[in-house]
Each structure stands twice: as structure tokens, then as C-alpha cells.
Amino acid sequence: MIKSLQRRESELADSKRQQEILANGIFKSGELPKFADKIAETNQFPLKARKLEILQINVGYMCNQVCAHCHVDAGPDRKEIMTKATMQEILDVVQQTGAHTLDLTGGAPEMNPNFRWFVEEASRLGVEDFIVRSNLTIIRANKAYHDLPEFFKNHNIHVVSSMPHWTKGKTDKQRGDGVFDKSIQALLDLNAVGYGMPDSPLKLDLVYNPSGAFLPGDQVSLQKDFKKALLEDFGIYFHQLFALTNLPISRFLDYLIASENYEDYMYALVEAYNPAAVRNVMCTNTLSVSWDGYLYDCDFNQMLQIPVNSSAKHISEYKTELLEGRHIAISQHCYGCTAGAGSSCQGSVT
């Protein structure tokens, strides 16, 4: 298993160093346009937050996997975990936000010791769509997690899980040895309780990230190929596939630099820039809450520690009027969300 950047004491474990890389080099020299200048070409600068629809909560960076591309730099060694007190602060404001979607992410959110309590409490708040981003393997990690499919079902959770490919080789290369087999078993466990089955209200969606320095292909075509292969090879069903672009931060940035792909990848992102995708980028209707309760425009800004442009910087200070209409904090990593058909935690945006 590879180690997190933090464990390796890599200079990229420092978010400021990542910000420097994104601000300098080919962008400082003018070889490529800065994201702010690019969106200004179509009068979309400054990018402003619209009505909040999705509250994405990162309950901790601890994970049982160490994926090569992880933008969180998550892993078993990460100790940042949301406390019950912060969870309570979030529960206190969920209804006030008016968000129709609650989206729990990590790390492996299930590893937070108060995960089940939080899900039970939050599911009573009546949000329309309650997402848990499960890495699948956690369900098979040990007996304590084997009942997760039932638990998810009992709370009408919408399960969204990562699956970079329908073959073992590509999956294990990105997510670690043995991940593919465990993921397949977990998907079968989810199917067994009704998740992902045709016409089932128990939603099971998969997330595809390219396993290398290239952009995702067409989401519809990939979904078709995933569905065919997983059904034929394993008898697995799922609903939708979301094709996400890897953003050049954290471990993926480390990979890009180490493999000498950074500049070519940034060129590819800039060349694939789609002004139509800017309108629907997720930061315009999402608020990301970190494990310690701080507010960010998205999970990526959270990892780069770029705070929201608002006097309300913590969930305890939440006020709709202080956050709606705020100017989104942007940098060159934002090209990842505007390339091609666009990319968000809910897949393509155009």
C-alpha cells in the first residue's frame, strides 16, 4: 500500500505548496491563461454562488484505502475526524440552509466512529437526497461493516461509489491491490438488498475517474460499457455512472509531477475548457464542510485550504445571506471542472 503525502512528509502535503505550483510556472509566464482570465472572456468572472442546493460534508480524512489519485490524501494514517459536536452543529443548520441534498464524503465516511449516529439523526431531517460516498471495500473490510448495505437501506441512503474500471488490472493500479475483488463483492452485497437494481428506489451510482493523466471520455458511452461488462462478468447492476475529471491537486498532482505529465495535463484541461460548463460548476450550488466545521466552496478548495469569501467561515457561523452570492475562490485547478462536458461530484454538468 502506498503512503499518504503527509506520511511521506512530501512537500505537497502542504496545501500552500500546491497553491504555489498552480499559481506559477506555465500560468505565471502567460503560456497558459489563468482560470480567472479565461472565464472573464465570457463575462463569467467573478463566479458567484447561487442558492445552496448541496451540502457536502467531509466527516474525516481517514480511509482504509490509499488511492494513487486521491485529492484528499486520505489513508489509514490520517487522524482528522469530525467530532460529534461538529456533527451536531451541522444538524442544527441543515434545515436553515434549504439544501435538498446532503452528501457525506471522506476518507471513508463509515470509519468515523459517529457516522451511524450522524446518519440516523440527519435522515430525520427530511432532505430529498441523502448521499454517502462509499469506497465499497469498507463494506468488506471487517465484520463490523458487513451490515452497511442494510443500514444504508434502512435510512434510504443514496450510495455513490468509486469504480475506475470494470477490469481488475486498471482498478487495482489506481486504488490498491485487492480493491477490485472486494469492490465486486460489495456491489453484489448492495445488489442483494436491492441497491442498484432496475426500477429499485435504492440508488446506487458509480463514479469513474481516469486512471492516469488523461481526461474522461463521454459519460454516456462509459456508462454503457460499465453496465455491459459488470452485468456480463459479475451479474452486477447499478444506476448511473458519473465520469469525473481528476483535478491537479494533492496525490494526483504529485503523480502528474513525478511522471512529468503536469504541463501536458494542464494543457489538456485548458484546451478542453468549455465555457458552457462554467454555468453549472458545483461550487455555484454547493457548500463543502470540513471535518473541523470550516466552510469551503468545494471539496477541492477544502484540500487546498482556500476558504470561502465570506465572513461566515465556520458552520457555527452559517447564515444564508452571508454565503449566497459570495464570490467563489478560484485557481487553476478549477479547469478540471470545466473541461469537456464539465465535471462535478454528480458527474458531467452539460
Binding site: 470494470w166 488523461f214 474522461p216 458511452s221 462509459l222 460499457d225
Partner: protein, 111 residues
């Protein structure tokens, strides 16, 4: 003077061939786009054919383009190399099948 015959950056300028003949350029790119649409063959299958042909005609631009296209479509390296072996087999076979001509001639002329 340019030191190499091929420049990877030229691939991105492919569309500029229309500048010297707009009508034929436009017709070509319309045809090209149509060819690669989903049809009786999937776009994925067409991408693999393109990759094999690219190697047969040894076009570095096409190899670059269709290797990247294949990765984006989730085509595996196992599928890519099998496609190349198809190209290699046909190409090798094309040489060897002419051996029949050679053998015919030898058989005719030799005592």
C-alpha cells in the same frame, strides 16, 4: 530550420488544412466526424480499428490521437496490443503471401 519532420504540436493544428481549401477541408472533417459516430460498429470499436490502422500506416499523429482516445474510452492496454497484433499479422501476412508469387516463379524456372 525545423530539426525534425514531426512536431507533436502540429496535431492540434490539423484543422488548419482547411485554410488553404475551405470547401474540401470542411467536407473532409464532416466525413471524418460522421465515420467515427456510433453506427453498426460502436465508437469504441472504431477507435480500436483506428489505432490499428494508425500503426499500419505508421502515422505518429494518429498513434498519439487514438492511444489517448482509447484511454478516454476505457480501452485497456490488453485490447490495444491485441488490435496492434491484428495490424501486425495483416502487415506480415501481406509480405508473406507474396511468397507464393516467389515460389511460383522459382518452381517455373528451376529444373
Amino acid at each position: 530550420m525545423q530539426k525534425t519532420y514531426y512536431d507533436p504540436a502540429d496535431l492540434k493544428k490539423f484543422g488548419s488544412i482547411s485554410e488553404w481549401n475551405e470547401e474540401l477541408g470542411a467536407k473532409f472533417f464532416e466525413y471524418y466526424g460522421k465515420v467515427f459516430e456510433e453506427g453498426s460498429l460502436t465508437a469504441r470499436e472504431k477507435s480500436l480499428i483506428a489505432l490499428a490502422v494508425a500503426h499500419t500506416i505508421q502515422c505518429p499523429y494518429c498513434i498519439d490521437a487514438y492511444t489517448g482516445d482509447g484511454l478516454q474510452r476505457g480501452i485497456t492496454k490488453e485490447e490495444m496490443i491485441e488490435a496492434l497484433h491484428v495490424a501486425g499479422a495483416i502487415r506480415g501476412g501481406a509480405s508473406l503471401v507474396h511468397g507464393v508469387q516467389m515460389m511460383n516463379k522459382v518452381n517455373k524456372l528451376e529444373m
